[in-house]
Symmetry: C2
Subunit: 658 residues, 2 copies
């Protein structure tokens, strides 16, 4: 059963596609249309230089409301020696924008003029005093906008390949155009395939997969300036897929065939491309996204367009792979078809917070959270799972581990293509540690106060280590000391001994037993765990929740050995809930939210404290001020107290200040 | 005739508007609507946090095509000691995304499995071999996407106030939503007023002004996320304007009344606001744009909306003032109404290339070209005229000379809000010197080679001085040495003596006499200038064209005194053409393009050489490589040779290399 994709290097894959497009005469601005010059032209791309048809202004124009004069006639005018000019031959009233009379070469603003007719109010009559008096000389061309000041007929207004912005439209209008030639939006067909796919909003049963890739892909294409069409889901049927692709090829410039690009039993995409045209590439040494397919398919005889073939991209099924495939292979193509520069994200150099292992042959794109802690710009890798679309949502940028390396060490410098600009990054509070729902609420409230909370979940101890390494501003922690029942302090002294900190209580939070709906086994307390009929599921060694369990078992003198399943381990609260939901276990210890997430029941047993640990150097800084304010904010307290299993009475209590 | 606007500081004006809006309960998200989750949701702003309804995946899913197994069953498997598993109870074929059987906790990818049924091709039958053989143990949960790996039901997916991007839409769909609540697009009425205004595309007569501000304003509003309505032009009629504003107020959230905001005879805007509501501010200490009006107007009884008043902004008439008024006063309002963060342009610190004088009381926004020359980031101020919309088109950023200073000196550091990102700036070739049409073509061609040409016109000598100061990469120059008839070299030695340079010829360009269409006075050569019937117009002292004239007059032994109008000076080629067009003069010396621009006739007399002067340190750098390539490019030569009055035979000739 040896099945191989022959991954080729990224640059080689891109080159093969480009060559095929050049051969098909498709590596150029695809189509041009003439559109009216209105606000819908915004974001479109010019296909030819725009030369000015007329000058602007197209005459010598007064730049002020005032009187047009010959400058020389004001020579010698002084406060003590005014010069009188007769209206008509020597001075003529002009509004801003009016043409200068042929004989005039300057304008005296109305506020510098005295009327000899004793008007001192602005009325329509003011334009025709018999004479005016001026008390200062003017130089030629003062307060005049000379012909062509803005635009000279025949000059270049905008080059070809320019993405139109609001002021550009004004300049094009000012230079005498009322239509504009722009690149047509490339038509992109997006075909989701897969028997397991169901449309957004479907009621789900096990094995169903929500089809939202076509939504993400269509949005990307739209953002790049293309015109996407989302096709309905096609099931895994070779002939049906061929039929749909052939159909789409007739009326589109590009087909994106989503999923089926791997080498599995139902991965038809490469065979579809081979049947309908030419398979150029199957497999690229890039992560995520390596099973990508690049090819050309025939348009068929009924097509109106002169192009006989169009490109097709077999887009991998995992959402992160799919989105990155579009960025890597399709953006530059759309840019070429529109005649604009390809998108270039700003680059920043950041310090990697943890080791990244990467296959040596692959270009590996890693989503990272970026934050500035002290003077250091840090890049904290997010989940690398190709299925984790929230990693794209949370990412501040994309870091590249280039092919030729086996990965990178923590502390190494890495290049990051930034999704956010520096001013946003500078307002980002980096929280690393144990996750709690309250952090989501903090993020929500801080957004109203010009701060962003980016959090990475590495557990309480991981958070303290991150603080020691200067990799976060705050850490959420709920570490119980089984010796004395206190929280966090002994761990802080152990893990970050030399760093002065401030510790503030955030919430009290219930831990309890997660059981099936209706609690069919009638579980009430830890004592019931010794019942051999009851199957328990535990958290992994070192988890705060396991420490808490052991502490209470000890207090209650219950032996671990008497609990069936004590050694069966899960790694998250939700893993516990899921084991209960599936029937593998009857109960496990966790937080209320995990029970709620899977519609299970929760038996509250005891409360633990969840604190925020903050190095002093950040605690006193401006960045965190809105966070401390929040802990005193009644609206925030109320929002947290509405969460099931939370107690806000401790919120804001100072636990420790060095 | 004393007419004053009482300018108040910017922050005070913004505060007055905000207070009025708070009082009217309009300083908040204006309206909310629920829209389908499709690609049209892109760019819309969430109005409430989005919590996950479901987990994703919503079951333990296989991450590969392969066989689901119990990890423990593979213990001990090694290359030399394979383990055999019977399909059904011990191994079950799963496609990527399939749910794991309840008993399984790991997946073995198909490529790591040997079939005992001697299939070695992927077929649909492969799913059902009787048994499989594995030669490596797997750990629990390997190649499995556990329930909630991406999203856990109840977790925060996105906060309120988030501008939706493609991946966000995917995450929202994955978390179980099919609609989304977003802020309604604020409805903005744009009313252009002015009797002198004519619509885009009109045939112009003297005094007509093309009305394109409403296009720019509508595009800005659209880009900010609002929904603009452009009204037709209203003439300067107080009652008519009142009627239109009252009408617009009934169906919009904001009225932008364009022009009429000064204090001239036909500037009705402030009276309109006073009549229909409350005038809050008339005049703000900001340049350009100080005659701005802020107020509230009544919506009238027929309005459907609960708001009784809506804001109105009297937008100054000059296009740059108008556009900046929207950026300064309206963007933050639209942001508030949408619930998103106001736009923040990235800031860079740059070195100012020339002195800026600014009224001490005003916040002065100066459009600048930004370029990196050597290690220095430079900001070169563009035209400060409020009527010069091309200055917005050319600007790379907006520099602020804050109130409280009288200006800034050349060489001082200035903060620039950047319109372009650094990677574009780093690819910018800064050209300062004499302008020539060929530079427009160079800009056009370079854009195809990932370079941008930004040019500032300060004349040939100014360009050499800029090179000496390290403020440009290249300078265009056409300085004739009247001693020996050579070009540029003696000036380069004089103005930048210690800087090694490379000088390359760009074009030969015709200079000649610009005369009226049909050449009514039958002018043929410089000799005709001595005819007392012929009125000449000259360029200013120091201009290259004047040096050229004097040189040829000298060669021809023609006395300056014999030329009527020799002392009548204009400052640009177009000034000469304009003087001829208006009849003030019969002819003047200039380039063919100026004649062409005003539809005049051109009598070619002699050719001058226009060179590119390049300090050696840049001549050898990668930045300029595409420029040198261009001089050898047949397509570029052909494009230049099509310009009237240009000779490309000298193009690329090395004149000097130090």
């Amino acid at each position: 059963m040896s099945v191989y994709l022959h991954d080729i290097p990224l640059s080689q894959a891109q080159a093969r596609l480009r060559e095929a497009l050049q051969e098909a005469d498709l590596w150029r601005v695809l189509n041009v249309e003439e559109i009216p010059l209105d606000e819908n032209a915004l974001g479109r791309v010019t296909t030819e230089p725009i030369w000015a048809e007329i000058s602007s202004p197209h005459y010598h124009a007064s730049a002020m409301d005032g009187f047009a004069v010959r400058a020389v006639a004001t020579n010698g005018a002084m406060p003590s020696a005014p010069v009188t000019l007769f209206t008509g031959p020597e001075a003529q009233y002009v509004d801003t924008g009016d043409p200068l009379p042929e004989w005039a070469n300057a304008v005296i603003p109305i506020e510098n003029v005295e009327s000899l007719d004793e008007h001192d109010q602005i009325t329509t009559e003011i334009r025709k005093p018999k004479s005016i008096r001026v008390r200062a000389a003017v130089t030629p061309w003062s307060h005049v906008r000379p012909l062509g000041e803005d635009i000279v007929a025949t000059q270049l207004v905008l080059p070809a390949g320019h993405v139109l912005r609001p002021a550009d439209l004004g300049a094009i209008a000012a230079s005498g155009h009322q239509t504009i030639r722009v690149a047509c939006k490339p038509k992109v067909a997006i075909l989701p395939t897969g028997t397991e796919l169901v449309p957004i909003g479907s009621k789900l049963k096990s094995g169903d997969i929500l089809e939202y890739n076509s939504l993400v892909l269509a949005s990307q294409i739209k953002q790049m300036g293309g015109d996407p069409t989302r096709y309905p889901i096609t099931k895994d049927d070779f002939d049906l897929i061929c039929q749909r692709v052939a159909e789409a090829a007739q009326t589109h410039d590009l087909v994106l065939l989503n999923a089926g690009s791997s080498a599995g039993a139902e991965d038809f995409s490469s065979r579809v491309v081979e049947k309908l045209g030419t398979l150029l590439v199957h497999g690229v040494a890039v992560r995520p996204g390596h099973p990508v397919i690049l090819g050309m398919v025939d348009r068929g005889v009924t097509s109106q367009s002169p192009a006989r073939q169009i490109p097709i991209v077999g887009v991998p099924g995992y959402p992160v792979s799919a989105a990155l495939t579009i960025d890597i292979f399709v953006e530059s193509l759309i840019a070429r078809w529109l005649g604009r520069r390809p998108l270039e994200l700003p680059l920043e150099t950041a310090t990697l917070t943890r080791k990244l292992v990467s296959p040596a042959g692959d270009d590996d794109f890693v989503r990272v959270v970026v934050g500035k802690v002290g003077d250091k710009l840090l890049a904290a890798p997010l989940s690398r799972g190709a299925g984790v679309i929230t990693s794209l949502v949370q990412a501040d940028g994309l870091a590249l581990v280039p092919s030729g390396t086996q990965g990178m060490e923590a502390g190494e410098k890495i290049q990051v293509r930034m999704y956010r600009n520096r001013s946003e990054i500078d307002k980002t509070i980096l929280a690393i540690g144990s996750h709690d729902l309250t952090l989501d609420l903090i993020a929500q409230f801080l957004a109203e106060h010009d701060r962003r909370l980016a959090s990475a979940n590495v557990g309480s101890q991981g958070g303290l280590v991150a603080l020691r390494r200067g990799e976060a501003h705050i850490a959420g922690s709920h570490l119980l000391d089984p010796q004395d029942g206190t929280y966090n302090i002994s761990y802080i002294r152990q893990y970050m001994p030399s760093i002065p900190v401030k510790v503030v209580a955030l919430v009290g939070r219930d831990q309890g037993l997660i059981v099936k709906k209706g609690n069919p086994k009638g579980i009430k307390s830890l004592k019931d765990l010794t019942n051999p009929e009851i199957q328990f599921v535990n958290r992994q060694r070192g988890a705060g929740t396991r420490v808490l369990l052991d502490y209470h078992l000890n207090l209650m003198s219950i032996s671990k050995d008497s609990i069936a399943g004590y050694n069966q381990e899960e790694y998250t609260h939700l893993g516990i809930a899921s084991a209960v939901a599936s029937g593998r276990a009857d109960c496990g210890l966790g937080v209320a939210a995990a029970a709620q997430a899977l519609d299970l029941e929760f038996i509250s047993l005891f409360q633990e404290r969840y604190d925020l640990v903050i190095p002093k150097q950040f605690a006193d800084g401006e960045l965190l001020t809105p966070l401390f304010d929040l802990l005193m904010d009644a609206r925030f307290r109320e929002a947290v107290s509405k969460l099931k299993g939370y107690d806000v009475s401790v919120m804001g209590t100072l636990i420790l200040e060095d």
